[in-house]
């Protein structure tokens, strides 16, 4: 890229810069008019100059040709103007002034907007270009690239450039013009004073850049340190668990503080220098004034200069410091931005970028692979640069199944991993070649390898988004019907490397169903379901679907079916072996398995003010409680619950495991309860002593009484069994429940969705909608049994796909961490399958699964036909974690004498059967069992 900032800006915006300059020059007369008119108004109509005689008139808008007298020797008047009397003149001039102000403002508005847009457009393209570079870096480079640092360059460091672009040329020309005019004027007044001024300004021009050199260095250092800071902060966030586990928070603090101090030191020196330069500047300019006064005064007094001349000189000088100061400031901004820009460009150097053509979107369909991979005399290195494979001759064709059996040995695993990475283009061979369909892999476009070859390893990273987003992301290669425009993003000539065109819209339809051999969206949904089945994820995603919520307005058919399932579940509970486990919500009965607040509402909140934790401050509800005399009773119950909790948990140590396993409160909460009860016992007015805690919902502190109510609302007798809820209170709660219902029914927008056996509740999860009740806490494994029954029922009613659909909308969270590691590994596998590639490379996949599930999954993938597609028989190259699977492959490669060679499948299977260390590795990795998998 162009390294000089001004050149870069000029190359990419010259026409716009010229236009900007024209507009600014065009606006100058108006600007001078706004300065000139007030003077005329005061001198003319107000002070009465030229209006001394009664009925005198003066010309308005008289337009003499400028400099006519000097050039032609006489005055030439272009327009004689309108003759107006004093008062009319005042109004005419006033209105003219108003018009000039409005027009001047409009010009300013236009210029500023134009500058802003110019800068921001260039900024967008610059950022886009930098991002394009990140995308075209070879994968190897990312080992040393910190994400947060790159982000800080692209986001923050280039930001000030946007403001500078608009001023880059217009400002110095404008100010320079003013300064030169001022100087010229000074020269005209007096040659010596002009020369004196030029000398001083010249000295300034000479000295300032010298003083600023160090400033630029410091600016660069500051930029680097700030970049390091964002890298370090991001690392700290990433490694938060490690910091806690190893007690290195204090070291981390020290590390950050050290960097912050370095930045402070740099900035402090920067300020010192910056203001020192400013001081010298001002001093020099003021020194000039001093010279003018002293020297000029001396000359006047000694009679060598007449006073009129000196006054004229000083008046002319008055206009000079402004523009010069502006120019000096501009220069400083320019220098800082140039340094910043160079640094940015340097950190995104072009060396080793992939050619843009490699990532070009092909116009036509990508052909299927014919011959597959072939490595010839390839020599591969690992991350440290150590040669791990030498003189490798190996290959895999579409339709062929090749296993690499490592026997768990480290050298073999590293070698096999390097081979897989090379096939996936993550690394390149140091020497020798890897060909795909007879062409060197490095020259092939990513559209071919990215769509026809899939690669899966043990990685578990996913960007945040829904499961669906992350699963289908790999299919988004180019927008459907984008065949016409095939040019890759290339910077036009003379743009200094800046990209000018825009990529296609993100919101287009990027998934090409035809390329997958699928007819329509329904076929695609079936494809997704089949892929998830094959990866062993269906059941788990359905479980997530049960925990998700559905909006009946968008998916009414599904919700109607759920209501049917609800009925069936209730009617056939005994057949599923879950009779009596779920206590259904019955408007006439108190639900012992639900909390008191839930029983009172008999529904779910639609607005935060009616959530369980916020009920204690809900005036409508409290009024109803009072009507039934429940508030005082609830307070008393809250007191007894708090006391019971204190009795149970009050003596436990803060680190007691009991808090983690059985208690429904934390140590801190118990401590707060103790304080609260002590306060209440001392009989102080609770209202004057608001509890120090904040309610989870409303966010505002609750008073002690409200806190007691909150405790009561959250209390469930069947779970805690403190014996504070009697039958009489239960029936009163039922009466209050009816009251709540009536009151809410009268409200315009119902804040509560009441349990109704015939309606789908959009605020509750799918599972709660099916159960419409609470799982009893006294049933053995009640929850598991209920879940299994629900799953069975859903499979039977053909709702699985609908539920899968809901589950696919589950947000995976930062890095995908809301899914377990096994689930994420399976999702990576699913991504490889969903695009139906011709060759799939499995590099020790599914290591987080237990051995049985992993082997079952691999067996399923090796079965034909895959995903019900007879015509699709992908080649599979798998680095095995379980060598006993080797018998299922056509060929087996083993690591011998520094390279991979063919081995007899039988031999491997026998060896694996002896229980070699290959099994041991697999067992270790499969520690995290995953019961849902199969």
């Amino acid at each position: 890229m162009e390294r000089n900032l001004l050149k870069f800006i000029w190359q990419n915006s010259r026409l716009k810069q010229v236009w900007l300059l024209i507009v600014i020059v065009a606006s100058m007369p108006l600007y001078f008019l706004t300065l000139e008119l007030p003077k005329q108004i005061v001198n003319g109509p107000i002070q009465g100059e030229g209006f001394s005689a009664a009925g005198a008139e003066q010309p308005f808008l008289r337009l003499p040709l400028p400099f006519a007298e000097t050039v032609f020797g006489r005055e030439i008047v272009l327009f004689e103007g309108f003759f107006l009397d004093r008062l009319a003149m005042l109004f005419a001039l006033g209105l003219l002034f108003l018009a000039a102000v409005v027009a001047n403002g409009a010009f300013k508005l236009y210029v500023n907007t134009y500058k802003g847009k110019l800068g921001e457009t260039l900024l967008r393209q610059l950022r886009y270009t930098l991002l394009d570079r990140v995308l075209r870096y070879r994968v190897v480079r990312f080992r040393n690239l910190k994400g947060a640092e790159a982000a800080s360059v692209i986001k923050d460091e280039v930001e000030p450039l946007g403001e500078f672009v608009g001023d880059a040329f217009s400002l110095p020309l404008f100010l320079g013009g003013q300064a030169i005019t001022g100087l010229l004027f000074l020269f005209l007044q007096n040659f010596y004073f002009g020369a004196l001024t030029i000398a001083i300004v010249g000295f300034q021009v000479w000295i300032i850049p010298r003083l600023r050199r160090r400033l630029i260095q410091l600016g660069r250092q500051r930029q680097l340190q700030a970049r390091r800071l964002s890298g370090q902060v991001a690392e700290t966030v990433e490694m938060a668990p490690d910091i806690h586990v190893n007690d290195i928070s204090n070291y981390t603090r020290a590390r950050h503080y050290g960097l912050l101090t370095t930045i402070l030191d740099i900035r402090f020196e920067l300020y010192q220098r910056k203001f020192a330069v400013k001081y010298i500047n001002n001093l020099l300019m003021q020194f000039l004034s001093f010279l003018f006064y002293v020297l000029g005064g001396y000359f006047v007094i000694t009679g060598r200069l007449d006073i009129g001349q000196l006054v004229a000189v000083i008046a002319a000088y008055k206009d000079l410091p402004g523009p010069i100061k502006g120019l000096i400031d501009y220069d400083q901004i320019r220098l800082i931005n140039e340094a910043r820009y160079e640094q940015t460009i340097d950190s995104f150097r072009d060396d080793g970028l992939l050619p843009a053509a490699i990532q070009q979107m092909p116009g036509q369909a990508v052909p299927r692979l014919r011959d597959g991979f072939r490595a010839e005399r390839a020599r591969l290195e690992d991350e440290t640069g150590r040669v791990v494979l030498e003189n490798l001759h190996a290959g895999i064709a579409p339709g062929e199944r090749v296993a690499i059996a490592t026997g768990g040995s480290d050298a073999a695993r590293i070698a096999a991993g390097a081979f897989c990475a090379a096939l996936a283009r993550l690394t390149s061979p140091v020497s020798g070649t890897i060909m795909l369909d007879g062409k060197p892999l490095d020259d092939l476009p990513e559209s071919l390898t990215g769509r026809r070859v899939a690669y899966v390893d043990a990685g578990t990273f996913f960007p945040s988004g829904t499961i669906r987003d992350n699963l289908t992301m790999v299919l988004k290669n180019q927008p459907v019907g984008f065949a016409e425009k095939t040019t890759p993003p290339t910077p036009p000539k003379g743009s200094g490397g800046l990209l000018h065109d825009a990529p296609p819209d993100e919101t287009l339809d990027w998934i090409d169903l035809a390329a997958l051999g699928l007819a329509d969206q329904r076929a695609f949904d079936r494809h997704v379901a089949a892929v998830l089945d094959l990866s062993g994820l269906s059941r788990q995603i359905q479980d997530l679907g049960l925990r998700g919520t559905v909006d009946p307005e968008h998916n009414s058919a599904f919700c109607d079916k759920i209501v049917e399932v609800r009925r069936e579940f209730r009617d056939n509970a005994a057949a599923f072996g879950v009779a009596g486990i779920v206590e259904p919500f019955d408007p006439e009965r108190y639900n012992a398995q639900a909390a008191i607040g839930e029983n009172l509402l008999f529904g779910t909140a639609r607005v935060p003010g009616w959530e369980l934790d916020a009920l204690a401050t809900n005036p409508v509800l409290l009024a109803i409680l009072d009507r039934h005399g429940l508030r005082e009773r609830f307070l008393e119950m809250g007191r007894r619950i708090a006391e019971a909790r204190i009795e149970l948990f009050g003596d436990l140590a803060p680190d007691s495991k009991i808090f983690e396993t059985v208690a429904d409160v934390s140590y801190e909460e118990v401590a707060r309860l103790k304080e609260m009860m002590a306060r209440l016992r001392m009989g102080r007015q609770a209202k004057q002593q608001p509890a120090q805690r904040r309610a989870k919902a409303g966010g505002k502190a609750l008073s002690d009484r409200e806190e007691l109510l909150r405790i009561t609302f959250n209390y469930c007798e069947a779970r805690s069994r403190f014996g504070v809820l009697d039958a009489e209170t239960e029936s009163d709660i039922l009466a209050a429940r009816a009251n709540v219902r009536e009151t809410v029914a009268e409200m315009e927008a119902a804040p509560v969705f009441f349990h109704d056996p015939d309606l789908y509740n959009p605020t509750a999860t799918v599972l709660d909608n099916i159960l419409l009740g609470r799982v009893s806490s006294s049933a053995v494994d009640g929850r598991e049994k209920v879940l299994a029954a629900v799953q069975e029922l859903i499979a039977r009613t053909g709702l699985s796909s609908g539920l899968l659909d809901v589950g696919l909308d589950f947000e995976m969270g930062n890095g995908g961490r809301r899914l377990s590691e096994t689930q994420r590994q399976k999702l990576h596998l699913a991504r490889a399958l969903i695009k139906k590639p011709d060759i799939i490379v499995f590099n020790e996949v599914l290591g987080a699964l237990d051995v049985a599930s992993r082997q079952a999954t691999m067996r399923r993938i090796l079965e034909l036909p895959l995903l019900g597609d007879e015509g699709w028989k992908p080649g599979i190259l798998a680095v095995l974690l379980d060598d006993e699977l080797a018998g299922l492959f056509d060929r087996v490669l083993v690591y011998r004498n520094g390279t991979l060679v063919e081995d007899e499948p039988d031999e491997i299977a026998t060896r694996a059967g002896d229980g070699d260390d290959g099994d041991a590795t697999a067992d270790e990795k499969g520690a995290e069992d995953d019961a849902h998998a199969e």
Binding site: S656, E660, V662, G723, V780
Partner: protein, 152 residues
């Protein structure tokens, strides 16, 4: 409705907890889930992963060994017996199936909490060791008896 205090009364009658003071017993009762089984219902199945131990409060439980589909009742446990502690201590799958013979009421104590209880109350640990030792002695005697029977 049963309350914690009722359950504490039940626990006090169980020899295993005899030496634990009532206030601590309340914590045990709180942590334990009371489960009720009808005749023929299973408490847990052989081969399941076990995450809790059970104390029988009332009723009789059949201990059933399953081998290749055949079910043999190897023992019967009744009031106040401890069941399922092996999976909790050793992290192994359930070694036998336990099924209710008539109406059975049991207290279910989660694995983590059970281990915590033992740490907190050494007397409890002592009693459990005694119980296990008795069982081992019985098993050894049974084994010897059956071996003699086979030899004959």
């Amino acid at each position: 409705m049963r309350t914690l205090n009722d359950e504490v009364e039940v626990l006090r009658r169980i020899p295993l907890f005899a030496s634990i003071e009532p206030s601590k017993l309340k914590l045990v009762a709180y942590a334990a889930d009371r489960v009720e089984l009808n005749d023929g219902e299973t408490l847990f199945r052989q081969g399941d992963t076990g995450d809790s131990a059970f104390i029988l409060v009332s009723g009789v439980a059949d201990i059933i060994s399953e081998t290749e589909g055949a079910q043999v009742v190897v023992a019967q446990l009744r009031d106040h017996a401890l069941v399922g502690e092996m999976s909790v201590f050793c992290d192994v799958p359930r070694s036998a199936t336990v099924r209710a013979n008539g109406k059975l009421i049991a207290l279910k104590i989660g694995k983590d909490y059970f281990l915590e209880l033992i740490k907190e109350f050494p007397e409890l640990a002592g009693r459990i060791i005694r119980e296990l030792a008795f069982r081992l002695a019985k098993t050894t005697a049974d084994l010897a008896a059956s071996e003699r029977a086979v030899r004959k």
